[in-house]
């Protein structure tokens, strides 16, 4: 039934993925097949088989997801293409409520007969499990939308670009890195297309065509004489866009801090430019000054801060975590319901407003409707520093007194059951006009941190430690040179209360997590985190150098 493989990445050297393996769903197919679609009228007919069967078997509610999940991954190192994966996974998942209990079944047999059989199985599971249920499921209402459709706004479908052209782009980026002092470079391009058809007994038939893309690389510089090596990760972001993200645009570049030569990328990436700088920075890291441990004011680049937001705000405000459903794996949360009910829990300083949405342009979370047929929206999680809300889906909304779902249910495949997943969670930019140099100008003793690095946080999301991919020392308002061996350790509430403000919206851009894991068995999801450069005062920095 389910085809889920894992590409072992340890041999591929893509440290920036922060995973030892990446999921591949489905069967290997030819690239042409990735351009095919399934007729909407046929999908409606098949969906009705599930809905009618569920009702006839006694379900009070049913939803059906007919999904085609397409992936194309291209991997290279130095001057060679290592691997090209073209995969398709097609099937149907049916979820029902019977006797007040959920039941779910899935099948790759997308025929009237296959769907009817799986639906009967889902109802039987619901009825069997209802014997163990203490309280019936309470669903927040959702209106039926009739027959509607939605598509990721894109200029160029990445699947239409010949794979050879993509491999050439990666090899050109590798060449830039090698020409600028890299010893090794691994690069990759990930492209995903989810063709999802959702229908429910509430009267919705929603056809969606969702696209995501992620270019990425890791550059390594080696000093053979000393045996030292250093890496620098790409400063790209995974995006909910088409191939237009791969075409550099001057208007989408934001100049980095004076004295670093760095560039920020908004809705278009310049892979060649970034690869060249990455090689120079990886080489410079070999001789950079080792940081003196102590308290520093930090200026965090959006491509770094996104992960801190993800771990210290995104995850702790997932309502299922708060309630204990993830206790055995991801853990629970410090952000308990009593703190939220108090209406005065200071999660951060008054500079901190963090919002959730699945509507931002170019974001990974961007869809028209979630996997429960709920229209997506935006809402505040933290308003002027105070905890005001969580992330909830239809069967959780009543717990926090909401009349409707937040629209953040997601399943990573037709064969997986939908559950609450993190929407985009972003830090609102500052209201005063300010660029990164002006932000740095106010710092007497500080560190500028950019990009993805090591990250770790406890199971209730109090204590965390983050690294980055490049570090610069700030002294008396200016960047004075590169640093190495930097990591900061803090406590979530303490950290966000040390927030001293951000640059304005012209500096705002998205970071993303492409393979965020949650649940047992684990499901992946993709989520963006927007922010502008932001300052945090007096953060504890440790030196991570060791001798072995």
């Amino acid at each position: 039934m389910k085809r889920r493989n894992f590409l072992e990445l340890s041999a591929m050297g893509l440290g920036g993925l922060m995973l030892t393996s990446i999921p591949v769903f489905g069967d290997t197919v030819s690239p042409e097949r990735l351009l095919e679609t399934v007729d909407t009228a046929l999908k409606k007919k098949l969906a009705d088989v599930a809905l009618n069967t569920a009702k006839s078997k006694g379900a009070s509610y049913a939803d059906v997801r007919i999904g085609r999940y397409l992936q194309q991954y291209v991997f290279t190192r130095e001057k060679q293409v290592q691997n090209i994966v073209n995969a398709e996974s097609y099937g149907v998942g049916i979820r029902v409520l019977a006797n007040g209990t959920w039941g779910f079944a899935a099948t790759s047999d997308v025929s009237d007969k296959g769907i009817a059989k799986a639906t009967e199985q889902a109802v039987a599971i619901a009825k069997a499990n209802s014997k163990l249920q203490k309280e019936p499921v309470h669903l927040a209402p959702v209106k039926g939308y009739g027959e509607v459709s939605w598509k990721t706004p894109l200029e160029k479908n990445a699947f239409e670009v010949p794979v050879g052209e993509k491999a050439e782009l990666l090899l050109a980026a590798n060449a830039k890195a090698l020409d600028n002092g890299a010893n090794f470079v691994n690069s990759a391009l990930f492209q995903i297309n989810e063709q999802k058809y959702f229908a429910s007994t509430d009267g919705s038939y929603i056809d969606q065509d969702i696209h995501r893309i992620w270019p990425n690389f890791t550059v390594t510089a080696v000093d053979k004489a000393s045996g030292k090596f250093r890496t620098r990760e790409a400063l790209s972001a995974p995006m909910g866009m088409g191939y237009e993200y791969m075409i550099p645009k001057a208007s989408e570049k934001i100049k980095g801090p004076e004295g670093t030569g760095m560039m920020g990328y908004r809705y278009a990436y310049d892979m060649l430019e970034d690869a060249a700088l990455a090689a120079k920075q990886a080489r410079a890291k070999l001789t950079a000054k080792s940081v003196a441990a102590g308290k520093y004011d930090l200026i965090l680049d959006p491509n770094h801060l996104g992960l801190t937001i993800h771990e210290s705000v995104g995850h702790p405000l997932e309502l299922d975590r708060v309630l204990g459903y993830e206790a055995n794996y991801a853990g629970t949360s410090f952000a308990t319901l009593d703190k939220w009910r108090s209406k005065n829990f200071k999660y951060g300083s008054d500079k901190v407003t963090i919002f959730a949405d699945k509507t931002q342009k170019g974001s990974l979370g961007l869809v028209g409707w979630d996997d429960e047929g709920v229209k997506t929206k935006q809402w505040d999680l933290i308003k002027d520093g105070v905890l005001v809300n969580y992330q909830a889906i239809r069967d959780q909304a009543h717990i926090i007194g909401e009349k409707e779902s937040h629209g953040c249910a997601y399943a990573d495949n037709w064969s997986s059951v939908q559950f609450q997943r993190m929407p985009n969670v972003s830090l609102a930019p500052g209201k005063e006009k300010k660029n990164v140099d002006q932000l740095i100008a106010g710092v007497d003793k500080g560190i500028y941190i950019a990009g993805r690095g090591s990250y770790s946080i406890d199971q209730q999301r109090y204590n965390f430690q983050f690294g980055g991919t490049v570090f610069y020392e700030i002294s008396k308002g200016k960047i004075v040179g590169m640093l190495e061996d930097v990591a900061y350790q803090s406590n979530t509430q303490e950290f966000w209360n040390s927030c001293a403000g951000s640059c304005d919206e012209s500096d705002y851009r998205l970071f993303g997590s492409f393979f965020d894991g949650k649940g047992q068995p684990s499901q992946v999801s993709a989520v963006s985190h927007g922010s502008a450069h932001t300052r945090f005062n007096g953060v504890n920095v440790i030196n991570t150098a060791r001798k072995i």
Binding site: T28, K224, T544
Partner: protein, 438 residues
């Protein structure tokens, strides 16, 4: 048809191979069926079952290679998947790392398939969860757990005469128990090839006991402490080291095994001389497949002997390029230990910390193999041979290389995540901050 016998697999592979027109063709046929049950807040939350059989074909023309997969096995489908892999191969660029497919190989026999695991049904899963939940209810605790089991097989055949077949089973269980006031938490995890060795009720009592006795932990100052790491705590750090026992990255100068002047630490003392690590696919406690993914025979291999690095794994390409011995990557690792139980190790500890589990472990510096992470679900202070009280969780920054050089004692090895690892006592383990998490 998820699980095929050796003869059934061989028949399908032969039939498919007969359609091949490529210079080289290798077919892998694999299947699995299994199930899982998940519970939280002392109720079952989800349960499921899945099964799958799939064939993957690699065809090669010269140095060009193409892969295609399929999950239907009638004659037409078999021919289709072979043709598709051939079409993809013709369009592929030549691989600079081409090595010919292997010919006939001799494999040892390993027993990793157990009927006790293969015959698990939904009733067994429900009963296993119920026993665990009962252990929680008995002590007014809240349980969240997960049980997963698989039966699978892998078969491989190519047009150079190679044939391999291996069936396996595994069952994996873990549960976290929390006190109602949220101040105590305990954990246990166990995995076996043979399900008759698992008693979820008994295992859950360990988590329950840890949860109950970890209430109201005291804060100790972060710093360097002697620790006793249970295998569930040390395994992820050790696996970070095991995965790095790789010849190519060491020779490329980007590994903790790389040395100044482009040399490597192969043949040198890396850790304490009491550390010996080997793999053995035929080990009765942690059996694994007698062949690696590329069909090379796996045999008993010593990786670290008395602290000295003895072998590094490599690809066929890298072995050929460097003239090194071909060493496939292992299944599970076995770290030799002593005869002491965990209780004996606690008794012989003057002052130290018992660690049940480490969590959210991430690499900080690949050069020194420095990792960070936190203790979780049962951390206790030991004084004069006794557990005195629970302590608040710590963040650590430590390298398994430094840890294995600061070794004090090793206990009796236990199976953990398919490896056999002893509890270990280590001095000067570096805790860098405190966490409020329970």
């Amino acid at each position: 048809m998820a699980i095929l016998s050796k003869e059934e697999a061989q028949a399908i592979l032969k039939k498919a191979l007969a359609y091949s027109k490529a210079d080289e063709c290798e077919i892998t046929l694999s299947g699995n069926n299994g199930g899982n049950i998940r519970y939280a807040r002392n109720e079952v939350s989800t349960s499921g079952a899945e099964e799958n059989t799939a064939m993957s074909v690699e065809s090669r023309f010269g140095k060009r290679s193409g892969v295609a997969t399929i999950n239907e096995f009638d004659d037409k489908s078999l021919e289709k998947v072979i043709r598709r892999s051939e079409e993809i191969a013709r369009l592929a660029p030549e691989s600079p790392e081409y090595v010919p497919l292997l010919g006939p190989q001799k494999y040892i026999t390993t027993k990793e398939h157990f009927d006790t695991t293969a015959k698990i049904d939904p009733a067994y899963r429900a009963e296993a969860a119920a026993k665990s939940i009962a252990a929680a209810n008995a002590k007014s605790l809240t349980a969240a757990g997960f049980l997963e089991h698989y039966t699978d097989f892998t078969a491989k055949m190519n047009n150079k005469g190679l044939f391999a077949y291996h069936p396996a089973t595994v069952i994996d269980f873990s549960v976290t128990m929390r006190t109602e006031d949220g101040t105590g938490s305990g954990y246990v995890t166990q995995d076996f090839s043979d399900a008759s060795k698992l008693d979820t009720g008994k295992a859950s009592e360990i988590a329950a006991q840890k949860a109950a006795s970890s209430r109201n932990a005291k804060a100790l100052e972060p710093g360097k402490y002697t620790v006793i790491l249970e295998p569930a705590a040390s395994i992820d750090l050790l696996q970070g080291m095991f995965r790095g026992l790789d010849q190519r990255s060491a020779e490329e100068g980007r590994s903790f095994l790389s040395k100044a002047g482009g040399k490597t630490k192969l043949g040198e003392k890396l850790v304490d001389e009491r550390v010996t690590v080997y793999s053995d696919p035929a080990h009765p406690e942690i059996p694994s497949a007698p062949f690696s993914g590329d069909g090379r025979p796996r045999e008993k291999t010593t990786w670290i002997e008395k602290g000295v690095v003895k072998n590094l794994s490599n690809s066929l390409y890298w072995a050929q390029k460097t003239g090194a011995k071909s060493v496939p990557n292992p299944g599970g690792m076995i770290m030799e230990g002593g005869t002491q139980s965990l209780e004996d190790m606690i008794k012989s500890t003057k002052r130290g910390i018992l660690v049940t589990r480490l969590w959210y472990i991430r690499s900080v510096d690949p050069q020194t193999l420095l990792f960070t992470g936190l203790t979780r679900d049962g951390t206790f202070y030991i004084e004069n041979g006794k557990i005195m009280y629970p302590v608040k969780n710590f963040r650590f920054n430590e390298s398994p290389i430094i840890m294995l050089n600061n070794l004090e004692a090793l206990g009796k090895p236990q199976r953990i995540s398919g490896n056999l690892i002893p509890p270990m006592k280590v001095r000067d383990f570096t805790f860098t901050s405190l966490s409020d998490a329970v």
